[in-house]
């Protein structure tokens, strides 16, 4: 697989279109449309469950065989954003966060406001520095003080575009930069890169049959960012033998960070987690993935810090328990309008997932022994 030739532009354009789509938690429909369209062109069967997850399935081997193994691969479609909770008489929108957004990345940003069908441009207003007292200048503006300006002049005209309960997402640009233009900058790389990787793995595996007697369920899930976890209900439905969670992980590999707090390095490969705040990952699964990456020449790094949590938390505790692996693309400035990741790490994520599926027979024959 190391010799594989990639169509870099094709992958980047997929990441671009997915990451720029509007999809704050609870309002993922624009992302859903994109993914469904892509799955249709690949002629892969898929369904929606009650929660709103998209589940696509690839079946390998003899479908009549008893005791076929099931792998669930998941990446979430939603992104952090805001919800409008008041429209004031001047036509400004006030809002609350959906998911965790740092106070320092809100003020002065462009946003899109709406319900997914019709979107309106706006700006998160910020008090001019001239009007701030000295001590106010050193602090991030409080959320209660921030508001969104779409150019409306009064409540009634504003309400024609959005209302209490409408969603807001960052309006950001996608570009590549740095050496070999390998750095990707966009909003919502968390976790649209995972969605893109799944789509590319589906494409790569759709016409092969080298994986043994296996069903692979690719789940594009909703509501990860508020911890409610669409992935949980998908796992309940599928009851997999093994789950692979494709994620991003926040890293601190920047100037000035002390070595033990850098977490991982951009460009050094996809991260495998040992433990985070929601999951302790199984040793057998970690060892299997580590040795597979070595064999296949895929860049993989162990995440060197315990932080965060993701859909693995709810998947591994679902039903009577599920063995789960988290594979994350290290990403800087997560949950901001300008996330930065490395394209090579994305490729490593995609490749390791494909390799795990292809070689899952080896894993399953090992675990049955224990």
């Amino acid at each position: 697989m190391a010799n594989k030739i990639y169509d870099r532009e094709k992958s980047l354009s997929l990441i671009k279109s997915l990451s720029l789509a509007f999809g704050p938690t609870g309002c993922e429909e624009p992302v859903v449309e994109l993914i469904e369209k892509k799955l249709e062109t690949l002629s892969v069967p898929f369904m929606r469950d009650r929660m709103g997850n998209i589940i696509a399935r690839l079946r390998f081997g003899d479908i009549k065989v008893e005791g076929r193994r099931k792998i669930m691969v998941s990446a979430h479609m939603d992104e952090v954003g805001f919800m409008i909770n008041e429209v004031d008489d001047k036509g400004y929108f006030h809002m609350d966060t959906v998911g965790g957004i740092d106070g320092s990345v809100m003020a002065g940003r462009k946003v899109l406001v709406g319900d997914g069908k019709r979107l309106t441009c706006g700006v998160i207003a910020s008090t001019a520095i001239h009007h701030k007292k000295k001590d106010e200048r050193s602090k991030a503006e409080k959320l209660e003080k921030l508001y969104i300006d779409i150019g409306a002049t009064d409540r009634e005209s504003a309400k024609q575009y959005a209302d209490i309960g409408s969603f807001v997402a960052f309006d950001s640009e996608f570009y590549t930069f740095g050496k070999n233009r390998s750095f990707i900058k966009s909003k919502a790389l968390d976790d649209r890169m995972g969605c893109a990787a799944m789509l590319e793995v589906i494409e790569a595996l759709a016409d092969t049959d080298v994986c043994g007697d296996l069903d692979v369920y690719f789940c594009f899930t909703v509501r990860e960012e508020i911890g409610l976890s669409g992935a949980l209900t998908a796992a309940n439905l599928i009851r997999p033998d093994l789950a692979l969670v494709l994620e991003t992980t926040a890293v601190g590999d920047i100037e000035g960070a002390s070595p033990e707090k850098r977490v991982a390095e951009l460009g050094e490969g996809v991260c495998i987690s040992l433990m985070d705040r929601s999951t302790i990952y199984g040793r057998a699964e970690i060892d299997f993935v580590l040795s597979l990456a070595r064999q296949e020449g895929i860049a993989l790094q162990v995440k060197k810090y315990v932080s965060g949590g993701n859909d693995a938390g709810s998947i591994h505790k679902s039903g009577s328990g599920v063995k789960t692996v988290a594979l994350s693309v290290p990403t800087r400035y997560l949950h901001s309008p300008s996330c930065v990741a490395n394209f090579e790490d994305y490729l490593a994520q995609r490749d390791i997932v494909e390799a795990i599926i292809r070689k899952s027979n080896e894993y399953f024959s090992d675990v049955t022994l224990s």
């Binding site: 033990e260 040992l274 039903g319 009577s320 599920v322």
Partner: protein, 338 residues
């Protein structure tokens, strides 16, 4: 069963949350002869089933095998090991303790100089294994390996003992004791002895085990805090005053039916008991109560001082009371014993 010997044997096998292989192997050997079937599930729970005639209420008895500890996350240029806590480490209690890795590498855990106890956290502690360089350290310890505060168990006055990790190897010992008591008794419904994983990080193992077996009743065996030390929080629970029948902790309010039943069984059988309301801390009871279709959930606790330190202290008499009460409760679920 020699309860002290049994407990000590269980305590001396380090097994932090998520890495319970060691203790699981040991308990499996002990429980297998007392049950009809033994499983290990996807998360690593050890489940022993004593089959019933199939017509009575099933019951899950649960104690957690895991203990708190440290996970190696980083080794610096000088060979010092940075760790993350696994479970609720009290950093002040852990400071300047001897530790041992899963592979038996010895070391000490210490805070960086000048950090005040109030600011103690995983980010300013490190483990010193005496390595002279990163290279030397990496030959002994890899990222992802765990350490624990070195386990010890000693007898104190009377039936008091002291050491770690009594939380919750004492519960595991109680569960083994109950299994022995029930071995020759007939039971109508299935009995599930569950030695659960990952309790210390949020009661994860018991949730999936309870889901899989959907027992009608569930009973958790764990330690509880006490109100019998100078300057402690007020709590009507004392070491040596008997099995603590849990009424409430911060994660659960036990089913009133099971509390009532346990109290009346204790009184009938003259088993020393006390009522427990724990205002801080949770147990596997909550996850068993609400997993799947839910169960009628309760808990018996061994009152323990200095929990999560290296010198946890309890009274074996209380553990014996838990065995007697737990076994009597399970027997009461079967026809003819009611």
């Amino acid at each position: 069963m020699n309860i002290y010997k049994e407990l000590k044997e269980l305590c001396l096998v380090p097994s932090v949350s998520g890495r319970e292989e060691g203790i699981r192997g040991l308990i499996k050997k002990k429980i297998a002869p007392l049950a009809d079937e033994v499983y290990i599930d996807a998360l690593g729970n050890l489940i022993a089933v004593k089959k019933g005639s199939g017509e009575g209420a099933s019951v899950m008895l649960c104690a957690h095998m895991d203990e708190i500890g440290f996970l190696t996350t980083f080794i610096d240029v000088d060979g010092r090991i940075r760790v993350s806590n696994v479970g609720g480490i009290g950093w002040a209690a852990a400071s300047y303790s001897k530790v041992v890795s899963e592979k038996g590498v010895k070391g000490v855990i210490v805070p960086e100089e000048k950090v005040k106890p109030n600011d103690y956290s995983s980010s300013n502690f490190y483990i010193d294994i005496g390595a002279a360089s990163k290279k030397e350290a990496e030959r002994k310890v890899s990222i992802g390996e765990f350490f624990v505060v070195t386990p010890t168990v000693d007898r104190l006055l009377g039936k008091r003992i002291c050491g770690r990790p009594l939380d919750d190897r004492i519960g595991c010992t109680v569960l083994l004791g109950i299994a022995e008591e029930l071995f020759s008794a007939k039971n109508d419904g299935d009995i599930y002895y569950v030695f659960s994983v990952q309790e210390e990080v949020g009661c994860r193992g018991s949730k999936t085990a309870a889901f899989a077996f959907a027992p009608e009743y569930s009973l958790c065996f764990d330690v509880t805090a006490t109100g019998d030390t100078p300057g402690c929080e007020n709590m009507a629970c004392r070491v040596g005053d008997g099995a603590a029948i849990k009424i409430k902790d911060s994660s659960v309010i036990c089913h009133a039916e099971i509390v009532k039943k346990l109290v009346s069984i204790a009184e009938e059988n003259k088993i020393k008991y006390q009522r427990e309301i724990l205002t801080r801390g949770g147990t596997d009871t909550s996850s068993m109560q609400l997993s799947g279709r839910g169960s009628v959930a309760g808990a018996l606790s061994v009152p323990t001082r200095y929990i999560h330190s290296g010198v946890e202290l309890c009274d074996l008499g209380d553990a014996e009371a838990c065995i007697a009460l737990g076994a009597a409760f399970v027997k009461s679920l079967s026809e003819g014993n009611r």
